[in-house]
């Protein structure tokens, strides 16, 4: 698509941020830009950044909605720290996002929106386009609104409607700068506005008008950029968000185990999409109950689990608190259930659309009585699929609740995902009991795993009663016997500990020994790997152990810790994993690095911190 006179510069990776009012269609613009990156063969990761209000006051900083994409020809692990290019549709998005643009980066603004009134509303004292406050950036002043109107004036559409498409003009500008093809966007218009050919035409025209505008302006110096295809392994790919990946991993586990999926859940940000996604797939036998509250969500799932369904409930922090008592019931009745907790900033309502890792201790310990559960954490948007699958496998094969931790970043962020074949996933074999089994007792255990077996209502010859009262070992009758209670508490704990025999060993990225080990977990993986790779390339003896299995921990954890001079635990909380590690391994000294701002780590701040720890005596 490049014209002859253009100079094309090749880049390894680029971060682009689209920002506008909540109603400006920035999420759509971002996702169309992602589709074009996908077709060009780039690896990429995206993250939407939007306010918790649906339509906060227009023109104010509170109402700004953003979408960031990081794409490149090498592996992309995060949605990027700072943007190379910012598209700001109004003054407020410029105000809010300026701090996220690299010095020397490009900023594209719609000059038509920089009215006195809008500047005041956004909190600017002076017009930033008029003074030298943006002198460190390559500022592209584009009259996007008026050019959008002009580009389709022959179609006779009303102005209000046309202006809704000015995001497509901005997209056209970006398509020119990054040498993208119109194909994916055109296909989207044709599909989306099938019933209205005029709207299809106007969107196509506006997109091209943006492209042609960029081709003519001086500010770009006729330079465009290409990002070569990434060296991804051969296969079929798609773009996927963490929440959808989680939902699909659960559906895959249902199919592989032969147990129909039951999801009892209550809408809560940022986990709702899991409920919405599974609701769509009744053709796969998924039964979904949008419950009256969080408690009914999990309790209905426990009921479904009793009947032999693969039962799931999905929630976020405050919802996990409400489910605590019921998780204890699932521990006591030893029924499989997966509790997906998409973490957000707390405590209480906290910052619902902002991400955090502060539910770890709640997941590990937040119940009455001795109530151990398996805790697993996903680390990227796409591996939410696999960790949802493995969590399900552990729940069903070991007959226990499993808490799967993801977070707002993984949930809403998207990534390139290599599509697997379901039959390539490990088999799931729940311990079902055959009809009229004369040896069946409700609390008789598998000698190796210590799980009890799953006898389903409707099966002849297995009628039994379970419940929240303490059970007599083997026979399952209600028991208040002192010795029995101790035996049962120890058996339930031991059952979870033995899961360590069935999970993979912890791997180390980098050398198995060295000066500094980064011990991290969950959704910070992308930032950690980028920081560690950067330091390794500078010759630093730094390695990464990023944990997915939190309880139980992999069996080789202490052996890994033993081989490093220093260990640091970076987390987006005040130090929860580090507290747990100190409890489990008092023989080691752990440094910690904590950030709790509703924001991810930046690779640069991690590198600075790790270097500082390395240099300390």
């Amino acid at each position: 698509m490049t014209t002859k006179q253009q100079k094309v510069v090749e880049l390894e990776n680029v971060v682009v941020r689209f920002a506008g009012d909540s109603g400006d269609g920035m999420q759509l613009t971002g996702s169309l830009f992602s589709d074009a990156a996908a077709i060009a063969g780039n690896d990429f990761a995206t993250f939407p950044d939007y306010p918790s209000e649906i339509r906060a006051p227009q023109g104010t900083v509170a109402g700004v909605s953003g979408f960031q994409i990081h794409f490149g020809q090498k592996n992309i692990y995060t949605s990027g720290d700072l943007a190379d290019v910012l598209v700001a549709m109004n003054p407020a998005p410029l105000k809010k996002n300026l701090m996220w643009v690299k010095s020397g980066g490009t900023i594209i603004v719609d000059t038509d929106t920089f009215t006195d009134k809008a500047l005041v509303k956004a909190g600017f004292e002076n017009d930033p386009l008029g003074d030298d406050s943006l002198k460190d950036f390559n500022l592209i002043k584009a009259p996007i609104s008026s050019l959008t109107k002009k580009s389709v004036e022959d179609l006779g559409l009303d102005n209000k409607m046309v202006l809704k498409s000015r995001n497509m003009f901005a997209l056209g500008v970006m398509f020119f700068i990054f040498n993208r093809e119109f194909k994916t966007a055109d296909e989207f218009f044709e599909q989306k506005f099938k019933s209205n050919p005029l709207v299809v035409e106007s969107n196509k025209k506006i997109l091209r008008a943006g492209y042609n505008f960029a081709d003519t302006i001086e500010a770009l110096n006729r330079i465009t950029y290409t990002v070569e295809p990434a060296a991804l392994s051969k296969g079929k790919y798609r773009n996927i968000t963490g929440n959808v990946a989680t939902a699909w991993g659960l559906l895959a586990a249902s199919e592989r185990s032969g147990r129909q999926l039951f999801l009892g859940s209550y809408p809560i940000t940022p986990a709702t999409e899991i409920l919405q996604e599974i609701s769509k797939h009744k053709s796969l036998g998924a039964r979904v109950l949008q419950a009256e509250d969080e408690i009914a969500g999990i309790v209905s799932s426990i009921g479904a689990s009793f009947t032999g369904s693969f039962a799931v409930t999905s929630t976020s922090g405050p919802g996990l608190s409400l489910k605590s008592e019921a998780i204890g019931l699932a521990v006591m009745t030893e029924l499989p259930i997966v509790i997906v907790n998409v973490q957000r900033a707390g405590p209480s309502t906290g910052m619902p659309t902002k991400s955090e890792q502060s539910d770890l201790l709640q997941a590990l310990f937040g119940r009455n009585g001795e109530a151990q559960v398996i805790v697993v954490a996903a680390s990227t948007s796409s591996n939410c699929f696999y960790h949802a699958y493995y969590a399900s496998k552990l729940a069903m094969e070991h007959m226990t609740p499993v808490i799967l931790l993801t977070d707002g970043y993984l949930a809403n962020g998207s990534e390139v995902f290599k599509i697997p074949k379901v039959k390539s996933l490990p088999a799931i074999k729940p311990p079902l009991v055959k009809a009229n089994d004369p040896d069946y007792y409700p609390y008789k255990r598998d000698p190796k795993r210590l799980n009890r077996s799953w006898a389903l209502p409707g099966t002849p010859g297995l009628r039994h009663r379970i419940g929240g009262l303490e059970k007599e070992d083997i026979y399952g009758n209600v028991s208040h016997d002192p010795e029995n209670h101790q035996i049962m508490c120890e058996l339930r704990a031991e059952k979870i500990e033995r899961v360590a025999d069935y999970i993979p060993k912890q791997d180390v990225i980098g050398k198995g020994s060295g000066d500094l080990l980064i011990a991290s977990w969950g959704g910070t993986y992308g930032n950690m790997i980028e920081a560690v790779k950067k330091m390794q390339s500078q010759g630093k003896k730094v390695s990464l152990a990023h944990f997915h299995y939190i309880n139980p921990l992999p069996k080789n954890t202490a052996d890994i810790f033993n081989n490093f001079k220093k260990i640091i635990v970076p987390e987006l909380n005040l130090g929860q994993f580090v507290l747990y590690l100190k409890m489990k391994f008092p023989q080691f000294k752990f440094e910690q690095y904590n950030k709790i701002q509703g924001l991810p780590f930046m690779v640069s701040e991690l590198v600075d911190k790790f270097n500082q720890v390395l240099e300390e005596e």
């Binding site: 051969k234 079929k236 790919y237 798609r238 053709s283 009914a296 426990i302 599509i419 379901v422």
Partner: protein, 344 residues
């Protein structure tokens, strides 16, 4: 959905003994629960369901020990959550015949939310709510049905709350089946349980039950030999609402209220008496009947309301069946490969 497919004649003949568990019954001597349990065990062989298809579910409270004493699949849940547990069981496997046992504390206080929503969804389960108007298992605190002014351990000056009327709440929550029985009348209990089992949708039976320790004789004005004929009316569909020792009292609709009249007085004849229509869609008369109480009225027993409406579990099965037939997504592989994909 549930049992229509089963040929009742071909089921092995079951007896009460098939449903008696080996666990010792640990309710207080004289507790109303014993009679309810016995009636239930008598009814189960009659409802035309295989014994392995029955599931008894409960929450917490004296009543909620019930599942341990019935030899079926059973689940003793946590406080207030029996309705949510039962909902999950029935939705996951609509072939099961689910009975939920609960009390006035379990379902009207801590579990109030689940209680109204299971009724609203009309999930095809049967609920037996034992109403003894007191907290028994925690030893004598007032409940949401305790009469105003009653002195209990937590209301030493008398309660200052308005009690719920179970039927009023249930009908307000769009319950499709509401019946009332007393623990002192086994025949009435078995008749009503049998009818509840046949209703498609959530069947709610309020059983007036006596707590011999903490609120003894709570229902005495309704159940005692001396007063019961005048203070109870056993409603039967299609029959005039006549009651009383002499069978000479009746209920009429006067203006917008019900009124008790005496046959033969003031020219009242049987023709003037209301005829019970449990199938009537409009809930007005059912609400009036459900809220009648002595001393001005008799307490209504029997099936007060039984209307036909779609059930949650039935609709969901229909959707799943049609989606399985028509959706292009027939496997998770189809799903993974749906939408926008590209090859590298």
């Amino acid at each position: 959905m549930t049992n229509e497919a089963i040929d009742i004649k071909n089921l092995p003949k079951l007896t009460r003994e098939d449903f008696v568990s080996d666990q010792m019954v640990k309710w207080c001597p004289g507790c109303g629960d014993h009679a309810i349990l016995s009636s239930f065990q008598k009814v189960l062989p009659e409802i035309g369901v295989k014994k392995e298809d029955v599931v008894v579910v409960s929450g917490i409270g004296c009543s909620s020990r019930f599942p341990y004493y019935v030899k079926t699949y059973g689940f003793h849940g946590i406080h207030g959550r029996a309705a949510a547990l039962s909902s999950g069981i029935k939705i996951a496997n609509p072939n099961l015949n689910v009975w939920m046992i609960t009390g006035d504390g379990d379902s009207l206080a801590i579990g109030g939310n689940h209680f109204i929503h299971v009724l609203r969804r009309n999930i095809d389960i049967n609920i037996m709510l034992f109403n003894n108007k007191i907290y028994g298992l925690t030893k004598g605190q007032y409940s949401p049905t305790t009469p105003s002014g009653k002195v209990t351990k937590t209301s030493p000056h008398g309660t200052i709350e308005h009690p719920f009327t179970v039927g009023e709440l249930a009908i307000g929550a769009q319950g499709t089946f509401f019946a009332r029985a007393v623990d002192t009348n086994p025949k009435m209990m078995t008749e009503i349980m049998l009818e509840a089992s046949k209703h498609k949708g959530t069947s709610l039976i309020e059983i007036l039950q006596n707590c011999v320790i903490f609120y003894n004789k709570v229902h005495n004005d309704i159940t005692s030999r001396e007063t019961r004929d005048d203070n109870q009316i056993y409603l039967k569909h299609g029959e005039p609402m006549i009651f009383g020792k002499e069978k000479n009292k009746g209920i009429i609709l006067k203006g917008t209220r019900l009124e008790v009249v005496t046959l033969g007085k003031n020219g009242i004849t049987e023709k003037d008496i209301l005829v019970h229509d449990k199938y009537q869609w409009e809930s007005g008369i059912h609400l009036l009947l459900a809220t009648m109480a002595p001393p001005d009225y008799p307490m209504a027993m029997g099936v007060i309301r039984s209307i036909t409406d779609f059930t949650y579990d039935g609709k969901l099965e229909n959707i799943i069946e049609s989606e399985k037939e028509t959706s292009p997504i027939q496997s998770v592989d189809d799903l993974l490969n749906s939408g926008k994909t590209w090859d590298i």
